[in-house]
Symmetry: C2
Subunit: 544 residues, 2 copies
């Protein structure tokens, strides 16, 4: 049992490391330096609003609200704002960057300050739902409403924080009776490191797929900043899980592989003392991880990202440089495999087995598949780098895990994989068993068909989980079904007015939120951009 | 009737000026340049809060609220602010300037922004009265509550607007569940151009007078910035009426006569096309008047200020330079004297006859006195400058106006002066008749005694009006009464906890406000600082 030997080595290492030994002490600085060198410049675009819009409560609209055009933008720029009092403008598309405006005194002179409230929102309902009293589980401060006291008019004022939005509401909270003023020159300096799209769709690509592709491209563009962010409104940071999916989409769009390289080096340089890649990273004031945020699914995806990066770039130098990190992730993951070759969450340190935002989703069976996928991807990387001898036990462990999965997790009667003590039937259990190559193609198809027709099945709650369902469908030959599912799911967002794809989407519940209050959801979320990847990787399936 | 000739000249001048001729076109730039050269540097003092305080609703406290000490300030600096949620701190005294604070992460790392609300207030009730829905007639934006989104912690943050306050409430509006932080290093950079006090009270000066003197000095100090402001919280600008009273108090305290010179030159340089001094001036972005804000009482007080400045400094150069402006104010004021030698507000252009904030106060009789006072002061100035021949008609006009006042405005039966068609009996009618030298000392005393004992009399509503009452009392020999009134009125504010003297004060109504909502009142107002002047000018009366 070679991998139990690995476990013992690992335990020993843990003990050593509790004496503050740092596995990658000698490499970190060089890795972080390479990350810094790969930091991209941001492209800037100046954007002005297109029109004044009016909010319309409409139960047929997504989340109950839509906007319709009310006036030309010039009306705002030329009318006494004390008459307008509240104005909402539409910038026409989702933007990430920095906002400024100007004020202009129309009559008399300024004898008192002005108080204005600016509320920026990604979606119509976000702008029309009162934020307070706050019901979300995340910080209220993510919401983009800023109250500003202007002590000087006739000046340009910038809001310091970075904003991600399409719609802006301006409200007058205080002014003087003794002079009139207008608000003009609303200006947005949009930023992204993405650059130009370097790929094309086939001319005959169906309109709905073209629409999905366009929205997915915009989603990715907005998330590509000085790292791949998860969401430019919220959380504005680099997560491994998002990085992997963004890197896949980037291959088929912007092809900004330097950004992928930067992120890989950041995760390597900021791995913990045991060499485990931490789930997410902040850039300011200097790059640092969210300490203690260990997510096994994500640390394993570091390896997949490195593998795909190598395939995209043939940058063997980077791959060799970071191979030790990849090997370490796999060694660490195998700690969570018990003597029966089954995933066991109760081992060693606390960890997070994130697969999707869906209340009650059991992680046991999906994680078995996720570890198998990691073993397969990591071994492929080892082979490309000529390192397979270092990890010769991995294929055998994978085989044992597959057999254990078939023996313990498969319900032959239902023809589905079940998960956990309550034998939960979920879509993601089937998806990860397929991706982990536990099933035959036929078994995979049967399992997917079973769960998708069973109303009791636990469904994915987000485009993140749904990505792995589509991936599984394609892998087991369900091309037509994958195409239908993708166009219905992501196309559903397009039909509901998405400018960028949302963090959380349940076709049956417009108000789904992982955080207790839908306005704090990110409406432009990296992990939702993967139609770009599917549409280009499988053109026969998606572009016809 | 020489002065009717003056009126005709004036009317002709108005016609000429409607063709955009500018009376002082050739002098303005030089005057404004001299104002700029006299601009003072601001002295800076770094102040930190003294303690954490708790608000106590107390019907015996001024406006129903007081603070008591709750904790040492260190508790704020060392405690997770998510536990504290709301904290009020006391800086120990009224301060004007710029606020900054620092945040410090206590546990984990920043994964989300923080939303904080800072409310600065001059008085306890201001901090404990909700501002919204706004009931004031002035801009809501005068209130000093600022909501701030911190996207980076562990940094020092400054609030850009200038603040005038003693108390600060900090409220947590949004934070992350995943890290703790403290707010520390609350720092205030207090600014004033006043400098050091150059005078002393006599050792035997009674404690209440010492207290009044101390509070008046602080009031003046806070209002002395790059101009004499009326109030550092609100309106933050230079008014002639405040300038005059501040200059009187400055003579007996900071003796910063350069500041007075600067303000005189600003008013001269920014007078209107007809050479009339406009009531108030703003400094930013460059000095400019509030156009159309003509206040006859104030434009006349330009002359008194120039006279007092000359007496203080013997700066004959400035006085000669500005004599033409002073003469012009008097000529302009005489337009409001009719053929019966009575003040007549219905002449020529719209104007404002500000005497006090007191609803319903009739201006006729006080204005008669105010013009007489201006004639006397302006003629004294002419004499000092050897210009009396230019204005030889003024003494005769004054005599006629005094006679007219005695004939038409004096109610011999009641032994008081009455004002307007409804024969209103007000304190300020008597005060201005005395200051205008219409009465004998004895008549003045009788009139003041009458109105102060008659409950139907219209009382002053502010320390501004009350200043002229005290002045009148002293002028007609009511030393003991002046002392009692001053110590009761200003001492009443001291006993109610004033750190600086208030814009509006009625001993019988703590909530008096000229603007419909007491929190927008200025609690540090220049025109309330004149006890400094009385206490030093009449030491036998006030310091014994």
């Amino acid at each position: 049992m070679k991998h139990l030997f690995t476990l013992c080595t690992m335990m020993l290492l843990t003990i050593i490391n509790s004496n503050a030994q740092d596995l990658f002490a000698n490499q970190r600085n060089a890795w972080l330096q390479k990350a810094e060198e790969a930091k991209p410049a941001l492209h800037e675009t100046i954007v002005h609003p297109q029109s004044i819009v009016r909010a319309v409560a409409d139960k047929n609209a997504y989340q109950g609200w839509r906007f319709e055009k009310q006036d030309e933008i010039e009306k705002l720029y030329t009318t006494n704002f004390k008459e307008l009092k509240t104005v909402t403008v539409d910038f026409g598309k989702h933007l990430t960057g920095y906002f400024s405006f100007h004020t202009r005194i129309l009559t008399n002179c300024e004898d008192a300050p002005v108080r204005l409230k600016f509320t920026f929102a990604e979606t119509p309902a976000e702008l029309n739902t009162p934020f307070d009293p706050w019901k979300g589980s995340l910080s209220r401060a993510w919401m983009q409403d800023e109250t500003i006291t202007l002590t000087r008019l006739n000046e340009t004022v910038s809001i310091p924080r970075r904003i991600a939005f399409r719609y802006l509401k301006i409200e007058l909270l205080g002014s003087s009776a003794y002079y009139d003023f207008a608000i003009d020159n609303l200006t947005f300096r949009a930023v992204s490191s993405a650059g130009d799209v370097k790929t094309n769709l086939q001319p005959q690509c169906p309109p709905i797929v073209q629409d999905i592709h366009r929205v997915a491209i915009e989603t990715l563009r907005e998330c590509m900043q000085t790292v791949y962010e998860d969401g430019p409104k919220r959380d504005q940071r680099l997560w491994v899980g998002d990085l992997y999916l963004e890197a896949l989409a980037n291959r088929y769009s912007f092809q900004n592989f330097q950004l992928t390289k930067r992120c890989l080096y950041l995760f390597a340089g900021l791995s913990d003392e045991n060499g485990v890649v931490i789930a997410n990273i902040f850039e300011h004031p200097e790059p640092h991880p969210q300490k203690g945020q260990l997510c096994l699914t994500y640390s394993m995806l570091f390896n997949s990202t490195l593998l795909e990066y190598l395939k995209d770039t043939n940058d063997y130098e980077t791959a060799h440089d970071l191979w030790c990190v990849a090997r370490r992730q796999m060694e660490y993951a195998l700690n969570y495999v018990n003597k029966d070759y089954l995933f066991d969450p109760n081992q060693y340190v606390s960890n997070w087995f994130f697969l999707d935002w869906r209340d009650g989703l059991d992680a046991h069976t999906p994680m078995q598949g996720a570890i198998l996928f990691a073993l397969s991807q990591s071994y492929e990387l080892a082979q490309m780098l000529g390192k397979e001898k270092e990890v010769s036990e991995w294929p055998r462990i994978a085989n044992r895990m597959k057999k254990a999965a078939r023996r313990h997790l498969y319900d032959k009667q239902q023809k589905v994989f079940v998960s956990g003590a309550n034998r939960q039937v979920s879509v993601l259990s089937q998806a990860w068993m397929i991706i982990g190559e536990v099933t035959t193609e036929k078994e995979g198809r049967e399992a997917i068909q079973q769960v998708l027709t069973n109303e009791q099945s636990v469904m994915p709650g987000t485009p993140y989980g749904t990505h792995y369902l589509i991936e599984a469908m394609v892998r087991c030959g369900m091309h037509q079904e994958a195409r239908s599912y993708l166009t219905e799911y992501w196309g559903g967002m397009v039909k509901k007015g998405a400018d960028t794809f949302w963090e959380a989407y349940d076709p049956k519940n417009d108000f789904i939120s992982p955080y207790g209050f839908f306005p704090v959801n990110s409406a432009c979320h990296a992990w939702s951009c993967t139609p770009v990847y599917f549409i280009h990787k499988y053109p026969e399936t998606f572009q016809r």
